[in-house]
Symmetry: C2
Subunit: 402 residues, 2 copies
């Protein structure tokens, strides 16, 4: 039979990253493409202890439907965790668990945007956010970022233009710390300025902070949410990078009104998050395992970042630019403007190395000469070998375009 | 600050069932409201063994991001399971895991309906489906059901009316076996007729079958999907009622085109389901634990159904009608037409007994004198006591309305 699908498929397309996953079964391929944590960072031993205790102590509850907002004691532990790590003060009622941060992004798109309404993002920005906002048929405007984060002056000018036309973007989406994909961190002054802009124009900020605890050098910069006293900031956190991404658990911290709206939307999306995973996360926080695990992960990833940077310096052709992130999981590489990394990907896959091409991180694919490299997932020897292969591919491609 | 929310909140409202959950902390309240399995039905011992083996054997994979479509070996085991239990033949590529059946309902609404387009449901129908379809701004038309299931003649007439106006509903949503909330089962003839209608008018059927394995008496009726050879039926299953609902795992079996569309939408919704839960489900199927657990659950629930029916016969006033389901989790009680069960609920809560009022199960709240009673969750003594309280409440309400 012939199916009559909705028009949503004019807005969403297969994700390049997800499509790349099918190549991961090729053992020869070295992939810098995914955004996957290294399995060495998973607290397997602690997980086993926790799982046994959860089944023994809360078995029936951990297997039963939970509430849409998530387990109360987990939300209380989260309040302590974000206060300790990010200086954010939140009450239980201001926290809602989500099925990964992806669901939070989707729900936020849904509660704020009608089809065609505008959302501001950084350019480049997280591909999963593009997918979530596109799914809600939002229009995205990307504001360039540099090594100090989003260009907030350009942002304000853009907002003024909107206001002059009698309209306003619905929210401003940023990943201020160890940005995905750029690896850059927004400096404190700009964070303050962004918050001022949010207040002045009454446009909420969505602060996505999956990587904040993965700092390898430099001093922490306060989260925007920690400076927010008027409910301007909607904060997104996740267990994916500090526990395990297979347990699909993220959270939103925001004004109660927003939490209630997300709750209502989540009832239609999946009723509630995975109870067992919520109990695991609760114990992981309560026991303090998280505070012992993060430094191990940081130490593992710092070495990998250093190794990738060193290999790039050694093998990449001159003139290639790349970020040197103080944390997170990604480097952002910018090639000669003549190069289209989407087209180059085919060549790379033949050379058995993968990345995500830069265009995927722009709402309208507007820039073509960049790529995102993940440095956390691959084994050390593969990092070196993969960068060698990529250097070869770039050199080849440059010969073609010149 | 003042938030500018989208117009979605004109379409979705807080669910009465979810709202009732807040009363569950009152130990005096006897709730027939939720759709929760009895925790006695959870395979706790088996879960503990499985969890330990999963961590030992697949720890790193079970904690890592999974693919959007779900674990390949789980999909293969599911193919065997649905063939054995429901006579459905499916290839791996025709199966996609979802974060509970709720996500499947949401995604199906999303891939098929543009705002204002029509979906046909049974009347009454599952409240979570109403919520999922409303979230996609679909228009719902409920076709009455009787003790033989949906009135398929009325359905065909309705479709003809649509066609006469140059339009067509996008799909037909049914819960043919042990319907939620009515407890009725669609007879074989009507299933065949429904499939014929689907073929004739090229309108897909969404067959939701969460309770199919919970049969307490009578002979199994073939699933509609088992009779489908043209991709007319989109089949929804779940682990919630045969393993544990806290592990948010459902699945869709459908034509590859549909599975691919759901995959694309799911990437925006939550990237992938919970990996740990997928590994647990895989082992639960592979070991055959599921085939040992279902008969235990059936035996537990059969007694509870019998007890509730007996108590109703004993205590409810004459003239009250109710279904006598051969399986599933719910009874549907119809009171005097003058009674509005939504209004009566306040009186019931004062008497410390809860139900879900019938209006919640109609897309436009069109009928007011019914209620859904869950018989699986409560302890036996509470079933008797709760029915006594409810009888008292009904008698009181009847005095008021007369």
């Amino acid at each position: 039979m012939e199916y009559r699908f909705s028009d949503i498929f004019r807005y969403i397309k297969p994700s390049e990253i997800r499509s790349l996953l099918k190549y991961t079964s090729d053992p020869e391929l070295i992939s810098f493409g995914g955004g996957m944590p290294n399995p060495e960072s998973f607290p397997i031993k602690e997980m086993k202890e926790i799982l046994n205790d959860v089944i023994d102590n809360y078995g029936k509850k951990a297997l039963q439907y939970g509430t849409t907002e998530g387990l109360d004691p987990l939300r209380d532990e989260l309040a302590k965790y974000v206060e300790k790590t990010e200086g954010i003060r939140a009450k239980r009622e201001e926290i809602i668990l989500t099925t990964g941060s992806q669901q939070a992004l989707y729900a936020i798109g849904k509660i704020f945007t009608n089809p065609g309404e505008t959302v501001i993002t950084e350019g480049p920005t997280y591909v999963g956010a593009i997918s979530a906002f596109n799914s809600n048929k939002a229009e995205m405007i990307a504001i360039d970022l540099d090594d100090k984060g989003m260009d907030v002056d350009a942002l304000e000018e853009r907002i003024r233009n909107f206001m002059a036309n009698g309209t306003k973007p619905k929210f401003i989406y940023v990943i201020p710390t160890f940005q995905n994909p750029a690896g850059t961190t927004m400096v404190l002054d700009r964070r303050k300025q962004l918050l001022e802009i949010s207040k002045r124009y009454e446009i909420p900020i969505v602060e996505d902070n999956p990587y904040g605890q993965l700092r390898y050098d430099g001093d922490p910069v306060p989260s925007i949410k920690s400076m927010d006293d008027d409910g301007n900031v909607i904060y997104l956190g996740t267990f994916s990078k500090v526990m395990a991404p297979g347990l699909r658990l993220g959270y939103v911290i925001a004004d109660r009104q927003i939490v209630e709206k997300i709750n209502l939307v989540k009832q239609g999306l999946d009723l509630a998050s995975d109870s067992l995973s919520e109990y695991i996360a609760y114990e992981y926080l309560k026991r303090g395992d998280i505070y012992r695990q993060i430094p191990k992960t940081v130490s593992l990833y710092r070495k990998k970042r250093d190794l990738m940077l060193k290999s790039i310096a050694e093998y990449f052709p001159e003139g290639v630019k790349y970020t040197k992130p103080n944390g997170g999981m990604f480097l952002w590489v910018s090639l000669d403007e003549k190069i289209d990394t989407t087209r180059m990907l085919e060549r790379a896959l033949k050379a058995k190395v993968a990345y995500v091409s830069g265009a995927a991180f722009y709402p309208h694919g507007e820039k073509h000469n960049s790529m995102r490299l993940n440095f956390t997932y691959s084994d050390d020897d593969k990092i070196v070998e993969g960068i060698k292969r990529l250097a070869y591919v770039i050199n080849e491609e440059m010969e073609v375009v010149e």
